[in-house]
Structure formats: structure tokens, C-alpha cells
């Protein structure tokens, strides 16, 4: 499954480690929330980077105390129709100031890339190769956005207000 990060298909530096499997001494790992929460401090003391796969039916509040020490948070889309992770993503980014990798995982498809990016995702485990290939092109689909989110894109309302100010300044 290709990983798209910073707009490009890249090698996944994180190793998915299953719950029963032994954690490697170093290197970046991606582990389940349950495993992480058993002993977060011990895991964070490891030499490698830590990423946590967070379920979409659990409030992100439990993860908040560790955010500044996590290198990645992966949020789940069991199907693309289940949109709970969009709220989790915005809360992590916009309320809790998380600035590490925010990864979308599960049924991640082309037609949700823009929504995911706007909600704060910057890494995508894309289900289909063709969708991963089309990432850059798909991200260019929209140039107008109505809602203010933490992604920094200027909203239509703001653009209009700017236009209005420049018009009145010119008079």
C-alpha cells in the first residue's frame, strides 16, 4: 500500500508492529493505541520514533498528554463512509496543537484526499496505486474553500473581505 507524504509517494519509515510482536530496539514503529497506553513512558523511552494508531471511537483526549513526544498519529477510516477521524484530526491539529505526522489509514481513496488534507492529514496510506499516483493532481481539484480549518487555506469569505478592503482603499 503506497504511502503519500508531503504530496509524494515515499517509503514508509515506520514499521507496523502487531500487538503480540516484539518491539524492535530502535527504528520508527507504529503501534496500536491499546499497546501504547499499557506503558506509554516505556515505549517513548525507546531509541526510535513512536507512532500510534488511534481508533475512531475513542476520544483523542487520552492521547493528548503524549502528543509532543509522538512522531506520528494514524487515524482510521474503517470505510471511507465513516467520517469520525475527520473530527479527531481537526481536534489534534487545531485544539491540541499536534504538529507531527498525521496519517490517514484504512479505506483511503482519491475522492477524500482534499477533505483529509483540509482536516489536517499530511500522510496517506492509500488503498489503490492509481489513487496514490493521482494524488498531486487530485489536490489541485479545488481552489475555493468556504470553511476555515487549521490547514491555513484562505477561505472565500476572507478573500472577499480582502477584496473589499483593497477596493475601498483604492477609492
Amino acid at each position: 500500500m503506497p504511502l503519500v507524504k508531503n504530496g509524494r509517494i515515499t517509503t514508509d519509515l515506520f514499521v507496523h508492529v502487531a500487538d503480540g510482536a516484539e518491539l524492535p530496539g530502535d527504528g520508527a514503529v507504529l503501534i496500536s493505541a491499546a499497546r501504547f497506553l499499557e506503558d506509554p513512558e516505556a515505549i517513548l523511552k525507546r531509541a526510535g520514533k513512536t507512532g500510534v494508531i488511534w481508533p475512531n471511537n475513542r476520544a483523542v483526549d487520552d492521547l493528548v498528554p503524549y502528543l509532543d513526544r509522538l512522531a506520528a498519529v494514524a487515524l482510521l477510516f474503517p470505510t471511507f463512509r465513516d467520517g469520525r477521524a475527520y473530527s479527531q484530526a481537526r481536534l489534534l491539529r487545531e485544539r491540541h496543537g499536534y504538529d507531527g505526522e498525521l496519517r490517514a489509514t484504512g479505506q483511503v481513496l482519491r475522492d477524500q484526499f482534499v477533505f483529509m488534507s483540509r482536516a489536517g492529514f499530511d500522510a496517506f496510506e492509500v488503498k489503490k496505486d492509481a489513487d496514490a499516483d493521482a494524488f498531486a493532481e487530485t489536490m489541485k481539484r479545488y481552489s475555493v474553500f468556504y470553511q476555515p480549518t487549521g490547514d491555513g487555506r484562505v477561505t472565500a469569505l476572507n478573500r472577499r473581505m480582502q477584496l473589499r478592503h483593497s477596493e475601498s482603499a483604492g477609492q
Binding site: S87, A119, Y142, R164
Partner: protein
Amino acid sequence: MYAYDELDRTLINERVSEFRDQVKRRLSGELTEDEFKMLRLQNGVYLQLHAYMFRVAIPYGTLSSKQLRRLAYIARRYDRGYGHFTTRQNIQFNWIKLAELPDALAELAEVGIHAMQTSGNNMRNVTSDQWAGVAPGEVEDPRIWSEILRQHTTLHPEFSFLPRKFKIAITASEHDRAAIKIHDIGLRLHKNADGETGFEVLVGGGLGRTPFIAKTIKPFVAGRDILSYVEAILRVYNQYGRRDNIYKARIKILVHELGIEKFAREVDEEWRQMGHSALTLDHSVIEEVRSRFSYPAYEKLPHMPDELKQAAHDPLFERWRKNSVAPHKVQGYSIVTLSLKPVGGPPGDATADQMDAIADLADKYSFGEIRVGHEQNLALPHVAKRDLPQLWKALDRLGLATPNVNLVTDIIACPGLDYCSLANARSIPIAQELTRRFANHDTADMIGRLHINISGCINACGHHHVGHIGILGVEKNGEEFYQITIGGRADENAQMGALIGPAVPYAEVADVIEDIVEAYLALRDRPEELFVDTVKRLGVEPFKERVYATR
């Protein structure tokens, strides 16, 4: 009218291009139906019994004559020459081809019309009072807020995959014509004690298999805070709404299961944490949106022009005027309702020719503006009273002057089993038969205000629960049967109707309804007592006795 600017137009065109690409991938097999279904629904495309159905948004029910002509053109070019206006200020085309849809959308986009979020589990077309901006006594034009919400809800990055669909309606009048109490969020504009404009926010209303009347979650939210408050409600719903059972996924179930107090606390906590955010609307932003609504340059006209005095001698004109013409906030003008409920016709349908003719009449008599109401009728919102006689003649020729607005034959009906893949029974032929039974306008006048609502299945698109008389089609052993309720209403005193007795077969429905109406005429204590008030006073029993005594 709201004037789209370059940004609005760009976004709609970008959506058309995206959908064109999605259709292309579907037809090439790159997307399976399972993957494509939600994508097409997000753009108003259903698959019905005979064909794809295409639902186009008419935000807050306002159309320009140019837009209506384009809808007529779409009906002719891509469909079978007619369209169906729905209870949520949309228009549906029943015979559209998927392969041609991107072209149809592109042609609609040229006049600022789209189909975004007219279905799917997202925030649907924001609806409002069809008399918004012209009704006397309104707090202010609710369409300003409808448009702010329309923009905010369009392609929302967090709430496009909700547990289930989500509908918002707004009213600014004491008399609720937008049925806000049967919406997921209902907003009632009003002023608080300090004279500040804001909203009473209601939540958790809806019909379907588990009907609920919306409850007030907050009596007053200031206008500047409405986006953040709505966002707080949606965030709670998105995270906690049920996704395990499609029938329990609407916000009404979450509100019911948590209780309104607990749900309100969750929303308040979320809202508090959001704090002052980019969603807070400052005055200049609200004014920016307001400034893009244009209003007609009304003339100073007499309250009672000579043309109207003369026409009053014609009893047919007078009958229509009394029935279909409503007071306007500006002296000398009226709001005219165009009945899409001709005797024997499918409720809410209009032909392409009618749409074109209505567009012409709107240009001539209503500053080029048309409104669509949830009762599936149209309205011309700014007609000079002196023009009423001429307009009436023109409408009469088009079959759009049936003087039955709000009367027994002004029936709300879903498409039913004739079109819909979810339906269990037919709706339209029941409505047609009822309009024939009550075709005599004197009788209908004598009966007075009476809303009959018909749904072909429990999903309740025909709003049967809130009809003064509600008719629900069910299937029993492969036959069509109909459950009948009485006493429902959709206005500011909204409530669900009560079942009157066992379901009756297709062939008996019209007889039963006639019996109910006869029972009412015998039971009402004076001619002014409306059907729904008689039911309220006496309950279901006396009706039941009369209707079922001989059955």
C-alpha cells in the same frame, strides 16, 4: 436574489469537473458501484426504479427566471420534459442518464445551480421560508443566514461523512412555513430582550420510522456565533451518532438516547472549548453576505388599485385571489402562490413548458424572481396588486391557478412506487384520486384548511406524520395498504398525527378520506374551526367511530 461571485462560480465548476472525473472512472470500471454510490449521492444522483434520479438544489427556495428557464431546458434536453419539486426546496428529474449527467451539471453551473449535497450523509440543502424577505412582520430576511450556512456546509471537510443525512431549516416569522421542527437543526430567528438578533436553536426533529419533534437546545444564540454553535452540534453528532444501524443513525436518535439536557451539555462543552474562533462572524462579514442580496426597486403603489377593484366583480378571480394571494411587506404588492396541484395531476410536477412560462411571468410581474415552498408549490414573491388580474389570466391558461392552496387538494406526496426504489406503495395515484373527489372548489372552500400528506413508505418523504391527514403506504402480502393518521401538523405547533384505525386497501383510501372529512364537517363546532383543531378538541375516537362503523 443572492448574486454568485467569481469564487462561488469557481467552486461549482470545480465540483462539476470532479464529478465528471468520478463518472468517467465509474463507467470505465475503475470505480465499483459500492465505491461510486456515495460519490454520486453526494451530488444528488439516486438510482430509482426506472432510471437514475437527479436532485438539484434550490437553496432556500429562491430561483431567478434565468435559472428556472435552465431547469426547463434540462428537463427537455436530458429528461422527459418535466420535473418534480420536493418538500425540501429541490427539483428532481426522473429519467436522467448517468453518462450525460456531467454535461447537465455543467449547463446548470452556468446559471449558478448545483446538486451538491442534495443526498448522501452530509449537510443537505439549507431550506427556509419561501416567503423570506417579503413576508410582513419578519425579524429579518432569513436567507442571509441560509446563505452563510449554505457556504459553510458546502464540501465541509469534517462533516461530509456523517452517520446519516443532516437537514437544516431556518425561519424568521412567527408562523413557521419552513417546518423547522421536523429538521435535524431548526433555526428560528428572533430578537432577545436587548434587541440583539439571534436564533432559537432546535435539534433532533425528523420523520421517518422514528419520528420526533425537534427540541429547543438553546433559546438564544447570537447571530455572530451561529456557525460555531452549529459546528459544535455537528462535532458531537459526528463522533457519537450511531453508525451501527442505519435506522438509528440520525441525530434525533442520539438526542433521544442521551436526553436533550445531556446532549446540550455535550454541545455546550464542545462549544466552550472552541471558544472565539475563525467561525465567529464579525459584523462586516455578515454585511458582506447581506450586500450581495439584491431587492427589487419597489414602486410606491396604492393599497387598492382600480384594476383590483374592477376584477373583484369576477367571482372566479376573487376565489383565486382570496386563496392564492398573500399580503406583502410592501404596500401595493402581493405574494402569489402558484398551485402545482391541479385536479388529477401529480403533486409538485411542472412541465418544461410551464417552467418557461413561469419564468416569463416572473420577468413580467415579479422582478424575475420565483420561490419554491416545502408544500411543493411555487410562488411569485413581488407582484404589484394592479397586475393580479392579468397574472391570474395567464396562470389560469397554464393550469397554475387552481384555487386550492392550503385546501384539501393541496396534497404533499412523495413519488411513491411509481418511481421510487424504496417505496412499498404508490402515492401519486392516491393523490390524483383525492383531487378528483374534492374537485369542487366550493366544497373545498367549505372544508377549509386541510393538509393531506402521502408517503409511499416509512421513510416519510411525503411528511405523512405531520399531515392534518396523513396517509402511509405499506405492503401486506404483496398488496398495497395504507395507514391513516389524523391531527398532525408541521408548523410552529408541530405534532405527529395519531393512527385512526387498521390500514385500508388501495381501492378504499379515497372513500375513507371522504368519510373522515364528512365526519369533520359534522363534528366541527363552527365553520371556522379547522380540521386539525376539531381533532385536537375531540381526539381520534369520534372520527374512528364514523369511519370504521360501516367497515
